[in-house]
Each structure stands twice: as C-alpha cells, then as structure tokens.
Symmetry: none
Subunit: 192 residues, 2 copies
DNA sequence: TAAGACACGTGAGTC
DNA sequence: TGACTCACGTGTCTT
C-alpha cells in the first residue's frame, strides 16, 4: 500500500523491460494484422482495428454466401426421412413436421444425424474442416453424458468432413434423440 | 531535456483528456473485434490480435477455395447439363419413378447413399454384419472403376455395420450417381 | 511472492 | 500552430 516504495530497484527495471517487451509484441501484431487488410491506407492503430472489423464482417458474409451457393449445388439434400425404422432424427433445423422431406436450404453445416440402439448411439456429422474441429466435436458429445467408443473423420471434397461417432449413454443420459441433435448442433455452432 | 514548459496549463489537461478518449476508442475496437472471432477464450489484447490474424487468414483461404470451387462447378455444369444439381442419389430399391420416395418396406439393407465432389465419391452403407462383408463391398466398389482411398466400418447395435468409403473415379468411370447406387446394391445383394 | 496485463499521464514527433 | 498518434515508465489489479 501507500506506494512510498518502488518495491525494489531491481524489479523496477525488470518491470519496465517486461512492459517494453509486451508493447513490442502488440505493435508487431498490429503490423501483421494491417498486412492482411487489402486497401488499407491509414495504419494508425484505431483504423487498423476498425478496418479489420469491417473486413472481417465482409469476409464472413461472403463466405456464408459462397457456402450457401456451393452447398446448394453439391448437397441439395433430398433426403427422405420418412420413418426409416423407429429411431431416427434428422437435423432439419427449422421445419417441424415429421412428414417433411426436408429440402435443406441455407447453410446446412453442421449436418447431424443420430440413431440409437439400446444404450448405443451413432452420430454422423457432415461439417466444414475446421481447426480443432474434431476435438471440439468429441468434447461436445461427451458433455451430453455420452461416452465415445469410436470415432472416425473422413475428409471429402474441398473443405468438408464426414465424421462418424459411436458412443454409449452414461447413467445420467436422459434426452430424446431429437433434443440430442438439436443440443449438439447448438454446441457445435459456437466453433464454426 | 528542457521540460521547463508544460506549454500551457490549459492544454495540458486537454491533452490528457484527448488521450483518454483515444484509448477508450481503441479499447472499444478491441472489444468489437474480439466479438467477431469464434471460439475465442483469452480476450487479452495480444491474443485478440493474434487470433484475429489467424482467423482472417483462415477465412481468406476458405473464401478463395470456395470461389474456386464455385467457378469449377459452373464450368462443369455445362458438361453435365441439367442433371448437375442432382448430386445426390438415394437408394429406394424397387420403386421406379424418380419422384417417388417409396415407403421403405421389408428388408432395407443394404442402405446406400452416395455423393460426389468433382472426382471424389463418398459412399455410405448401412448393412448387416456379415462374414467377409467388408472385403466384398470394397471389391464391388472397385469393380465400378472406383479406386478406394479410405474406408471405415463401424459396428453398431446388434448386427449392423456403418461403412463409409471415399473413392476416386478412374478414367473409365462413367455412371450417374443413381446408377452407381443401383448397381452397387444389386452387387451387394448377392452376398446378403 | 512473482509474473503478466492494463490504463494512466506525459513528452515527443507528425501533418 | 493546434490537433493527432505513439511509446514510454509507472501504479495497480489479477492470476
């Protein structure tokens, strides 16, 4: 307290040194960031941040539109879900009716299917290749009181992944299949 | 050195005020930027910048790939003409009509799905566990002028198997997706 | 206790 | 000459 003491003469200089190092890293990061922004004129700190934000939004928007376009062509899911056997849930995000042959539009990722047999659950996911994608997914699955027995990820096409997981319900598990798919989807959307 | 003059007593306080304002804007920009980065844990300044850089690169990369893909698709769609959008075939075993997704009756196995992306083909099969089942399936696939890149078989439930195969079209390959599924199904039925 | 992050006030440089 | 932006050293708060 008080502050009458500069603590220690040695630490004081170490402090300024550490701070100097920190500032240096930040400055360098600013430089790196600025380099990624096309058509950037003012390289003042706030402009870099502002333009980075704007550019990022723009990229996200464009990416979404492109994905939509690509997905429409490649997937065009005309999946018919009608009462396959008994336990089957299709992630059709909006539509409610069971009879609906979900014409899946918009961004279909992650596309999730789940089936159950006694205490076993099979989960199939079609999503974009993403950094840490798989571990995140496994992590989300385990959050739902499912113990993963086996998982497999197959890259297919440019940037998509087909993931198959077999898990087993723990005692605490008590969800409907539909809720499982829904919850899982919401969880995964945080990483994508 | 010097420092004898604080320039003006009025300006001094205006200076600190302006600087305070500037800092405030930067901080706010940092916050806005952080909000755009998915899966961001540490919101410390340097991490925000670093992750923003990484994320931006990732986005740029994906955007480029998507654009490339879209361009390719539109070109190829000329070659395939109208049926291009039908990149998805569902095995509905007996029914003949294209529009009829018949009520799947009796023994649904093997249940086959296929998708294609350029020269890659993804095949998903749901069938009963059988002796020599997998090698037979792979064999059948290769008969169709498809070179198998990767395959995975997951047992699930009592006696069923989920098989995922990624293959690549050889030069001789020339089938529609629908025919592929149909032919494959007929081939597999000999072993089941 | 020590290591790291932040905001602050301030001197200095730029257009 | 103001009105800016920046880097600096420092006190403080959080792990």
């Amino acid at each position: 307290m008080v502050g009458s003491l500069t603590r220690a003469p040695l630490l004081a200089q170490e402090h300024v040194l550490a701070e100097r190092k920190r500032r240096e890293k930040i400055s360098q990061s600013f430089l790196s960031l600025a380099a990624l922004i096309p058509g950037l004129k003012k390289k003042d700190k706030n402009s870099v941040l502002g333009d980075a934000i704007e550019y990022l939004k723009q990229l996200q928007e464009r990416k979404a539109r492109l994905e939509e376009q690509v997905a429409k062509r490649t997937v065009e899911s005309v999946k018919f879900v009608k009462k396959t056997t008994q336990f089957y849930a299709q992630d059709d995000q909006t539509s409610s009716s069971d009879e609906n042959f979900g014409t899946q539009s918009k961004n279909p990722f992650p596309d999730i299917e789940a089936r159950v047999s006694n205490k076993d659950v099979l989960i199939r996911i079609h999503c974009e290749t993403n950094k840490g994608c798989i571990s995140n997914i496994i992590n989300e699955v385990e959050k739902l009181h499912l113990s993963v027995l086996n998982s497999n990820a197959l890259p297919f096409g440019q940037a998509t992944l087909y993931i198959t997981i077999v898990a087993q319900m723990e005692d605490e598990f008590s969800m409907t299949l539909r809720d499982l798919v829904k919850t899982l989807r919401e969880g995964l959307l945080n990483f994508m």
